[in-house]
Amino acid sequence: MNMPFTMPPLGPIMPEILLVCIGLILIIVDLLYPRNRELLSQLTLLACIGLIALLFNQKPASTFGNMFIVDPYSIFFKVICLLGLLMTTLMSGQYLTIEKIRHGEYYSLMTFSVVGMMIMASAADLIVIYLGLELMALSVYCLVGLLKDDFRSNEAAVKYFLMGGFSSAILLFGISLLYGMTGTTDLAGIAKYCSEAGIMKNPALLTGFALVLSGFCFKVGAAPFHFWTPDIYQGAPTSMTAFMSVAPKAAGFAVFGRFLMTGFPELHEQWGTIIAVIALLSMGVGNIVALSQTNIKRMLAYSSIAHAGYALLGLLAGTSEGYSATMTYLFIYGFMNMGAFAIVILLCSAGNRRESLEDYKGLAKSNPMAALLMLIFMFSLTGIPPTAGFIGKFYLLKAALAAGYTYTVICAVIFSAISAYFYLRLVRYMYMDDPQEEFVAQYSPGLTAALALSTIGVIGMGILPGSFLNLAARSLIGF
């Protein structure tokens, strides 16, 4: 058999190809200049900025037989992931020096995982979704276990690996059922076949759908599939925790949204209810368990579960208004969470990680600037105006309300009020208590830049939300 081979156009996938090349270059540079660590982070930063500029100039297109789609929706999520990489790289320098991590592969692994996320954001086919997901996950497993001599980091990596592998297997079994029922792995094809053949009530199809849904919930860390999150966030190197709480989560939501919107728009009545329950559980578990935490990384992990619940509110609405609210929220969440973790890194010094909430007592007296910034990020995470967190939450609740999920919204507001307790407790520790030790934080240039960027993001989007919302809304045109 002789089949002609035609090369698919590579233009749409160029940013991913370039990022893979950059990852490889980072490995080579590490080999050639083993003493110059600064070079690696500078290269990564340049690559991020260049790629964000490139992405903004990309035209909507598709390649590889519609398996890989570039549209404003995917570009928006890719920018979130790249911003996550940018800010993590900025704050990594100081952390790596303190923890004495000298692995050159740190930056290249992060780059490869971002390639996986960008592929996920663009994937319109279950095969591509799976490949992107695994590229992201495998790189992150290694990064979590990077502190080789620290048992907690080993433990987190092994737990993450087992949980991730298990969730991938569940996801795959769901995908195999979907493929068997519809005869295709293309999301648009699945939707077309389902509505034409009228098999929406087929039990095997629904089982497959439910399995895929639980696989995605694992990846975004929504309850009841959240139990891996706190352990892994606590054990991982802090810069990786910051990265994991923003970029993979955004990529997970990108896939989640596209799967529901392109693949199963007709089942909205069924999955709307399922997602409402998942969102409520996530907000409940996240916010209530966070009340009893004494470790800041663990507290932020539970807070990230709760925030996954908030972000799901936009998906469950199933409207373009809801999707744009979720996208805006993830963008804002990226800034405020990165900021909070930057402060956690700022307080970290050799031999004393200061990860306990007690360590924040009296921070306003010893380090007024750090305390003020943490105050802003905590206000934003709670959702207090005029910070960006308020705007994000407001539009999510508005979208869910417009779609008719009144009770879900009422519960969300109540859980949000509960969350104020543990966020503001940290503020009280910082401002009302006396310092326990003399400690002056060291600001490295990178960390300062990361803090400045996230503060500008949180305040700027809080005061002038219009332009960002327009950007998110425009990203959905043509969906």
Binding site: L138, K159, L162, L172, G180
Partner: protein, 100 residues
Amino acid sequence: MIPLSWYMILAAILFSIGTYGFLVRRNIIIMFLSIELMLNAVNLNLIAMSHYLECLRGHTFTLFIITVAAAEAAIGLGLVIVLFRNKKTVYVDHIKELKG
């Protein structure tokens, strides 16, 4: 010819055994083997469906899954070795530094 449903039932049984093993066994290596069993149940499902539907996508997907599983094995066993160097155990019950 063996009907498709037999393959699907076999795959579902294999997948359930894998899930059971993952949830019940405490040895990290055995848990990892259970995940591999689950992945192979998926492969069986995909191949059977691909043959039945006369469509090559399932075949292609299986090749990808096998490749990724190999990469996953390399990384997973690497992580277990690093863990074993610090604390001589492969049982998840002994790994409980992180909790709260």
